[in-house]
Point group: C2
Chain length 569, copies 2
């Protein structure tokens, strides 16, 4: 591609409102163009990268036995009412009416449609298993689109669905997809974290996320360096060091004038925060729920939601808390009646806590469970944190920020039961089909790759997904020799099947060309200049090399092929 | 692909409500699955065909200098208000609100977004010309989706847009696209008609449609066998034989009791219909328009709309006609005041017409233009018909039914002016960019190909776009020798890069397998059977061959390659 003919232009300055590196760099390098909040056009170079990613995905899906199809975005709302997911998605789903007033939605995912398709085509265990996939456009009305292609409202996804006769077969499909995903990210040149994830309300027993580690990621992964344990923050378990057991004290009021927070309370009474009880008040599916947890820990709302089997969970507001008889700054499970109480496991591993008294400026000391208050539910509802201990090997946990780029999920029979997708087994017995679903956000993967791979000068594309392999600059292209050598090299490289972005601009200064090459970030840069040509040479430099080398004109093709081969390893 | 593993099933019986061959056959062969009215999933075999079509399109677009990008479906309505096209599309456009109440549309085409994109990237004549294209999903809320993939509400299109500095450059891009389109259809194995088409209200001066001839097509093309003239019915001109000029008669009333139609009038008065005047009453942009045309001709509403420079045209209803003083069955331009009158050219080529008198059961004879009535506009507004004469060479015109699969269109500066997409010429003068747009309906092309290529047993896929090249049937696959030979052949063919659908089903009878092969319609069928294997042979048959041949086992690969090579020609 000739740079002079390329429709997209690079921007010299950072665009306003682009806070993350990938957003900023993809706009500056002319990869994307914004159409609306969270809605972008992919310009030609971004599309080339996406096609490479898609092609890797397709090969690995096919190798794992997947069959590619294509399902529509426009779907009858009725189908989503059948599974209850119209309500579950709520404002996140785009809904519309057609000219006849029929209710339609724009699909954020395709379980409903693919299950109906399988229902129409699969009758017998002989037709199973099936892995069906598509690379298709999804719509999701995100409340806060952000970070360029990371969180958008229209996006391309590879979504795959497995259909299995039993758990063992589902395990095999799940395992095949997990391996395919590892292959995909490896082949894209992107190191990935595979983390245990929450399997949610619908879910079967397993779920894993794939994340690219980057400081600007909005997801947190808890990892153990000494064993394989990796889980996202919502799912992660941890071992909390037990407190020393003390002789049980009596419950006793203590004046705590003006004390409203755990930190202030611990300081005022000169105890560690782990000796206090934190109180949090929630509304779960419309019902009030009082939660207590050790003062040094945080509530993991996903674990709490699962413990309550709730579909909707939110913090209660001040008015709701007051009307339940709670006193802000001194809320307490002690003496609380007619409200569901959830106690974190941590509260059972210690005694003589400082707790609220539901009176202004007063707390209790010597609070003990279950002596002083009851629980409707005792469960692990705490957020694992770095510094706590690995639940598998007992070593210290660490935490990493990342961007989720893939998710695999055992669905069980939720959709097949809702939509009546059954099959007959070898004995003629009818069963709902077991399902799994497996997604990769294609556009997000590109953005995450850029977020993970850049420096102060621009993008550093992993070679397998770079829009072109070579960025060739002709300096002083009005010089006849430069023109002829550069044109010949361009032809020879393209004939050899090498993808070249050829900066043939007559009106751009050398500095502009070098800056654009760093900004766009292709793996290898070639420079044809009058100075090098005097020695019959061309300059060659990898994007991350600090120094450039030079190579004789006749050896350029071979050198380029060698460098590209080494990058492919 | 093993037939036994394929998710889609063939249907033995015709599905209800599928009226056209392509709709019926694509459902029966397991190519598509309906999700809603005019909304389909593409099953794996259809997707394979589509990918082949897309790949041919992409190669030809790239060869013509096109740059591929990808624009979103979700767009701010505001952008469409700027060009007035929200109103123009009306109910045909899907509109929706996001969670913040902002008005969005689902794009039926991308002129607005691509013009904005070019506005942001093109400043100078040096950046022009540009040809940008995408293969992307469009949405159109058709009033009556029909014929399977022919008229749908969600569909994939290749849409290209050219941006040019002047008319000459636009002509070049237009010509390059016309040639690319001819190449695309030829390479897909589909003979195509390129017809002059109406360039509509927005348009610049040229527009051509590409149609596949088929009896069930909803478009009509007027062609001349003896010269190159080809135009769609909306656009086609024709030479109407002049009537013999008679001596001018006086206007005279004649009783026509109970006569309401042209046919009845001509019969009653024993004259040819060409001696009568037909009256049609329209509402154009809210204003009444009276149209008169020779009784043997029909009004071409597109030509009428263009003659009136109207954006909205519809027939008036009975009440509107009565309140304008028109009498049904005897409507007439004679004596009509205060209404715009349009007279077809045909009326000026004849005299002494029978015309209405705006009185029940009475007509005039001896009606002459302009003696007896005036015209606000005289124009060619007649529908060209087979049997009329070619406007270029004077030979008799014919008519063909077809399905429109492509359209190229000079847009001029409508969009660049509406959206402010200007460029500076070499003298520093600012001009709006000239534009052209160029579309191919990808899914519709597949449906039209099936509509054009089938027989009583099923689809007859043109080889370049068949889902697989070979349909290999193993008869009696439980026979060890059949199993081993078929499996080896399957491996060898795939290793040689030949795409094989291998009917390896154990539980399907020979008749079922043969019927499925004819239904799916791949170009070449191979049969491995115990009978042929006795002679060390395999049966080979082209989809349209009446007889099958046989080929020695060792020669199968070479024979298949020869047959495929001959089909590729």
């Amino acid at each position: 591609m000739r740079f002079s003919r390329m429709v997209s232009k690079t921007l010299r300055d950072d665009p306003p409102d682009a806070e993350t590196a990938s957003h900023r760099l993809m706009l500056r390098a002319g990869l994307i163009h914004q159409v609306a909040a969270g809605v972008y056009s992919y310009l030609p170079m971004a599309l080339r990268s996406l096609r490479k990613i898609e092609s890797i995905i397709r090969e690995e899906m096919d190798a794992a036995g997947g069959q590619e199809l294509m399902m529509p975005a426009l779907q009858p709302q009725e189908l989503w009412d059948q599974t209850g997911r119209k309500k579950a998605f709520g404002d996140n789903m785009f809904a519309l009416n057609d000219r006849h007033g029929r209710n339609l939605v724009l699909a954020p995912t395709h379980e409903e449609v693919v299950t109906n398709l399988v229902k129409a085509n699969v009758q017998s265990y002989r037709d199973l298993p099936q892995i069906l996939y598509q690379i298709q456009t999804k719509f999701r009305d995100e409340a806060r689109p952000r970070a360029g292609l990371v969180r958008v409202r229209e996006f391309d996804m590879k979504d795959a669905y497995s259909f299995n006769a039993d758990e063992d077969s589902l395990d095999e499909s799940y395992q095949a997809m997990a391996e395919a995903y590892q292959n995909i990210f490896r082949r894209c040149g992107l190191p990935v974290l595979m983390a245990e994830a929450d399997s949610g309300a619908i879910g079967g027993k397993d779920s894993h996320e794939f994340l690219l580690a980057t400081d600007t990621g909005e997801d947190t992964v808890i990892t153990c360096e000494s064993c394989s344990y990796t889980a996202n923050a919502e799912k992660a378990a941890s071992t909390i060091p037990k407190l020393l057991s003390e002789q049980e004290q009596c419950l006793e009021e203590v004046a705590t004038p003006g004390i409203k927070t755990i930190a202030a309370l611990a300081k005022f009474l000169t105890v560690h925060e782990s000796k206090t009880l934190k109180a949090v008040f929630y509304i779960a599916d419309g019902e009030p729920v009082f939660v207590t947890i050790r003062g040094d820990l945080e509530v993991n709302e996903t674990k709490l939601k699962n413990a309550l089997h709730a579909t909707d969970l939110r913090m209660a507001d001040g008015e709701e808390a007051r009307s339940a008889g709670l006193v802000a700054g001194s809320a307490s499970p002690i003496g609380l009646n007619d409200i569901k109480i959830v106690v974190d496991l941590s509260v059972t591993n210690g005694n003589n806590f400082i707790a609220g008294a539901n009176k202004p400026d007063v707390h209790y000391k010597g609070a003990n469970y279950p002596r002083d208050f009851e629980a409707d539910t005792v469960a692990d509802i705490s957020l694992a944190q770095p510094g706590q201990l690995c639940p598998l090997c007992g070593q210290t946990l660490e935490s990493t920020k990342g961007i989720e780029v893939g998710h695999i999920f055992k669905l069980g029979t939720f959709f097949s039961e809702s939509l009546g997708a059954d099959f007959l087994d070898a004995e003629g017995q009818q069963h709902p089909v077991m399902m799994g679903c497996y997604g990769i956000g294609v556009g997000r993967l590109l953005a995450a790759a850029v977020e993970q791979n850049n420096d102060e000068n621009g993008i550093v594309f992993p070679a397998p997904i770079a829009p072109y392999q070579i960025h060739m600059i002709a300096l002083n292209i009005n010089n006849n020799e430069v023109f002829e050598v550069a044109e010949k090299l361009y032809r020879d490289l393209e004939l050899a099947g090498i993808e070249v972005l050829f900066d043939d601009r007559e009106d751009a200064a050398a500095g502009v060309k070098f800056n654009d090459a760093d900004l766009i970030g292709l793996p290898v840069r070639l420079v044809v200049s009058p100075r090098n040509l005097k020695d019959g040479k061309v300059e060659i430099k990898g994007r991350t090399d600090s120094e450039s080398g030079s190579v004789a004109l006749d050896d350029v093709l071979v050198s380029v092929q060698e460098v590209l081969a080494s990058l492919a390893k």
